[in-house]
Amino acid sequence: MTCLELKSVSYRYGGARDLVLDGISASFEMGKVYAITGESGSGKSTLLSLMSGLDICGSGDILYMGKSLRDIDRDAYRAKSAGVVFQSFNLLLNSTALYNVTLSMGISGIPLDSNGKKMAAQALLEKVGVNSATASRKVLKLSGGEQQRVGIARALSHNPDVVIADEPTGNLDAETESAILKIFADVAHGDGKCVILVTHSESVTAMADEVFSLCDGKLAYGEAKREDEFGL
């Protein structure tokens, strides 16, 4: 079943002449892991912002379950349907790791009481490699890798239909990266969710069911090639 569909999506930043994304079309199915690769500045993060409903494309459309993101409540979409892992994590720095995850559950309206949320959040954090001691520390005092794992746990906390992650393993060691990728694979293949990973990592592309590459605002099916291989 198609979860997200890009229809001739174009985008340019205010005042800029060139398009960052130029007529992109693609479909993302439930139960699959997708990898989007591309050089720095190729528009990967912009595409992620559009798919996560943080921004609206200039032309074309993005459909979630057949409905345009323009027409639905994008706050509710982010809170309940999409789990986003940001490249810069975007966690609440003065709060604990645990609170970041439980707050996300609260925003999404998960029907659990305070203790239930804490237990679920703790279990999720353990799953991504954050133990209870680390979970009770302020995010500000965690390492980059730990913050990334908290970001992943937060994105998964409300059991979203689509998980969109920007370089989710960029700060992780190989062992943790492998564990995290297994989690994403389980989420897609086991729980039937759609996982879209924006990445540079070969191990990520290796485990993805389908790979897109983004270059000069165009999305191509298949693994990213060097610029000269695109015939540019």
Binding site: S52, L54, A79, K80, V84, S88, L93, N94, L103, I107
Partner: protein
């Protein structure tokens, strides 16, 4: 619910900033509490005094009006004592008080400060020569309204009593000592002219007198000893009028009417007009007295209102500024929350909840502290207002001796401005303070809400990136 919970957690998370906000809020609430408590208490005291003094009605010749109409002294309408008495028979009145003063002379009772020992003479208006008055016979129909006795400035000494019978009188201890008079002794006083009635009175009481010896030092300088406070012979109104005065010729007759309800002044005036009171006479409450008595309070009320307005303006501005800066500082946090899907309304609720929570804590502390500081502030303010009032009235008061020998109060010497206030922080005032405090909280919260309305999460997060 999670939004409120998040707001409460934020109070502790952003402790430094919230302490700053709380400090400003607390300072504003304390100042507003004190100002409102003082203002409201002053207002109530002014209203109570207005009800008291405002019930006291005088009927007097309206000199301004007659002057404007170009009426000379000979054309003025006059009313007799009987008329004054008939005006007192009204259902609108609680009581009527009549008083009379007659300059007298005595060959056996020497007046205080009279160095001539009763030998001074003066020429009457008709050209006849008579002994100058040395004493003042005072009659009052209601002893309770003798203000000097009511205020405690005069006090009947043990063994004596206020005059009650037609042949009784009370004199000052100075006059009694000078003439070696004791309670029970008879005294004889005469009118100025040969035909004026004489009074044979028994001293029923001797009083101590702490009032000023003269309403104006000029009286003593001019040798008008009968205007000296120590030279008054106090009798009952009936005793003085028992000699058959029908007009106020040669005597100073005063009437004072006390309304049951000060709001019925117009009705009372209509009634006395229907009884024949000429238009040359006005029926009025003693606005001057009311203003003088309540003046310091009115000044204090004005000062507290101004102070409160300044504090609310400056405090509101400071809170708005701090809130604006706080929200700017929290932009990333707001961006992260928005990225997580928290709606703007929920974030607004969080900010508002934080403001209200801080305000509630400050309100509790502020009411307590405001109550504590309001009394000393009020005492200090009132003392300043009383001093200003006294300085303003100094030199302008006293009694004027009229051409016909009457006296007329021209100043405020008989009035005592309110000089003490007990500041109360009652329920009504507390509600007002709470409303103002919550308004401040809303203002503070609204600044944040308006600020975040402009924020788009992606823009915030990009800026941070």
């Amino acid at each position: 619910m999670y939004a409120i919970f998040n707001a409460m957690k934020n109070l502790v998370r952003n402790l430094g900033r919230n302490i700053l906000l709380a400090s400003v809020t607390l300072a504003v609430i304390i100042c507003v509490s004190a100002a409102l408590a003082i203002g409201n208490t002053s207002e109530k005291m002014i209203e109570d005094t207005r009800l008291q003094i405002g019930s006291k009605v005088s009927i007097s010749l309206d000199l301004m009006a007659t002057h404007e109409q170009g009426q000379g002294p000979d054309n003025l309408a006059s009313i007799g004592i009987e008329d004054y008495l008939s005006y007192g028979e009204s259902d609108y009145l609680d009581k009527s008080v009549f008083s009379v003063q007659i300059p007298m002379y005595s060959s056996t009772v020497f007046a205080v400060d009279d160095e001539t020992k009763g030998q001074k003479e003066w020429q009457n208006q008709d050209g006849s020569v008579a002994k100058a008055p040395t004493l003042m016979l005072v009659g009052n129909s209601d002893a309770e309204t003798l203000s000097e006795f009511a205020s405690g400035e005069r006090e009947i000494l043990p063994g004596g009593k206020m005059p009650e019978e037609l042949n009784e009188c009370a004199i000052s201890s100075d006059l009694a000592e000078l003439n070696n008079i004791s309670v029970g002794d008879p005294i004889s006083i005469q009118g100025q002219s040969q035909s004026a009635p004489n009074y044979e009175l028994i001293v029923s009481g001797i009083y101590s007198d702490k009032t000023a010896a003269y309403a104006s030092p000029m009286y003593q300088f001019q040798g008008l000893v009968h205007l000296g406070q120590r030279n008054q012979v106090i009798a009952t109104y009936d005793a003085v009028m028992s000699k058959g005065y029908e007009t106020d010729e040669g005597i100073d007759f005063q009437s004072q009417y006390y309304l049951k309800d000060p709001r019925e002044l117009d009705k009372f005036e209509a009634e006395v007009r229907s009884k024949g009171l000429p238009r040359d006479y006005s029926v009025s409450i003693n606005q001057e007295e009311l203003d003088k008595v309540t003046g310091p309070l009115a000044g204090m009320r004005g000062a507290s209102s101004t102070f409160m307005a300044v504090i609310l303006s400056l405090g509101g501005l400071a809170l708005a500024l701090i809130s604006y800066l706080a929200v700017k500082e929290r932009k990333y946090e707001i961006g992260a929350l928005r990225a997580m899907g928290m709606e703007k309304a929920m974030i607004s609720l969080c900010l508002l909840s934080e403001s209200v929570a801080i305000t509630i804590v400050c309100l509790a502390l502020g009411l307590f502290a405001g109550r504590a500081v309001s009394q000393p502030i009020a005492d200090s303010l009132l003392a300043g207002q009383v001093s200003a009032s006294q300085a303003q009235s100094a030199g302008g008061g006293g009694k004027i001796l009229m051409a016909n020998g009457k006296t007329q109060t021209s100043g405020v010497n008989s009035y005592t401005p309110i000089s003490e206030i007990e500041v109360a922080l009652n329920a009504g005032t507390m509600v007002q303070i709470a409303v103002l405090a919550l308004a401040l909280a809303l203002l503070s919260g609204m600044v944040g809400i308006v600020s975040i309305a402009k924020y788009e999460p992606l823009k915030i997060l990009r800026e941070r990136g």
